[in-house]
Amino acid sequence: MLILECPCCGVKAEETELAPGGEAHLKRFGPGSSDAEFETYMFARKNPKGVHFERWRHAYGCGKWFLAARDTATLEVFGTYPAQTTEPPAELIAKIQAKRPGWKGWK
């Protein structure tokens, strides 16, 4: 069972308390953007077999959104961090690089 520690309230929440929210760190595009930009924002997804950054909400807990780094091939959780950021914390990236030497990075 998937267990994520909510960085907002500190509770170790199991999956039934959480609501998944898809890929994290998507760049939003608004009015005036090109078709290609809208497609990238709305539909194109990295869908990696490996390290994945994603949005979660502590739905049946504090109710707040947060972000998590997880391996989609092993279900290992690398860590969670607050959603008020545009990129993963350096410390988490270093931790993932140590565990996954060939990792291509989060972008």
């Binding site: 069972m1 998937l2 999956e15 039934t16 609501a19 998944p20 898809g22 890929e23 078709d35 290609a36 809208f38 497609e39 709305m42 539909f43 194109a44 997804r45 990295k46 869908n47 990696p48 077999k49 994945h52 994603e54 997880r70 989609t72 091939a73 092993t74 279900l75």
Partner: protein
Amino acid sequence: MRRYSVFALAREALRYHSGWGKAWASPEPKKHYDAIIIGAGGHGLATAYYLGKNHGIRNVAVIEKGWLGGGNTGRNTTIIRSNYLQDPSSAIFEKARALYENLSQDLNYNIMFSPRGLLMLAQTHHEVRGYKRTVHANQLQGVTTEWLEPEQVKKVVPIINLHGPRYPVLGGQWQARGGTARHDAVAWGYARACSDMGMDIIQNCEVTAVRQENGVVTGVETTRGEIGCKKLGIVVAGHSGVLAEMAGFRLPIESIALQALVSEPIKPVIDIVVMANTVHGYISQSDKGELVIGGGTDGFNNYTQRGSFHHIEETLRALVETFPIISRLKMLRQWGGIVDMTGDRSPIISKTPLGNCFINCGWGTGGFKAIPGSGWAMAELIAKGEPGALAREFDMWRFKEGRFIDESVAAGVAH
């Protein structure tokens, strides 16, 4: 290939079944093929079969990293139906359903197609309106479906509880020629027919890179060496994103786990397929007597072929309240498969940014029913280089241009 027939059966019965040959050959890969299909599941094998049968292209290899039909082809709940709302969907799914009708004869392999009837329960007023609309649309599309009132539902599936604790049964959408088939046999039958046409089926051979020159595909690198090709078809379901990355493009696809389970075998209690989309439970009974049960997908990306436990509980809760008679049954086995979900829940059968490279993916939670039609359309696309009538609307650029085939809001789909 030695044809299977009643005479073959009698002959082998008289000599202790010592004369049955292998159903398909397992050759070493050649250096070069006219076409390579990556993925020996139902869709990949059907693509190869119709390439040979309809278009005369027989110098073909089907490459599979695991074993034949060991992915989603062997992991689904074998439901066949074509009661979709949108015209392009119902066209390709009805083509597939129609091909299933004669597939055993066509392949000389018993796929046990059983058009036992398929019922989609309407349990909210929204669903009643949605399914009635789909029935009308199906009539215009030439797909035979009809609306059943609750008492008619009770007649076709007597074990149902019409007045469940959460959602009453308000009616149902009935497709009399929907049903099931034996999923493994579909893969095996196509493989045998492909092998008979001289195609190479290469198992335990994983593609590690896609080779290209000047924007045109030239071959693949595999764990069993390099193999050249003029045309490449990628038909790998859950791993479509991984193969697309090798070929140098991205897809509007996310891979997630979908689970199914079977109960202990019991005497016949249900002789049709029932789908309850509001509460997420799908049920039919196999010839062995097991109840074959499908449920909902996980909400997060996953490549592990393991799903979350609480989805099993949700599915069984839904089925127990709909069919109280099964409440004491033990469940025997549970498994997961990785399904490839697109943004509009419709498949992609498309040319790609890489020349002579074609992709067939995005069948999501409902690919088994489409296997013959999907292979038919994909073979046409690969052979001619341009999509035919069945595949035309399913190109990957529809997401950029806003031409969605929106089955995620149409009531005809389960996910």
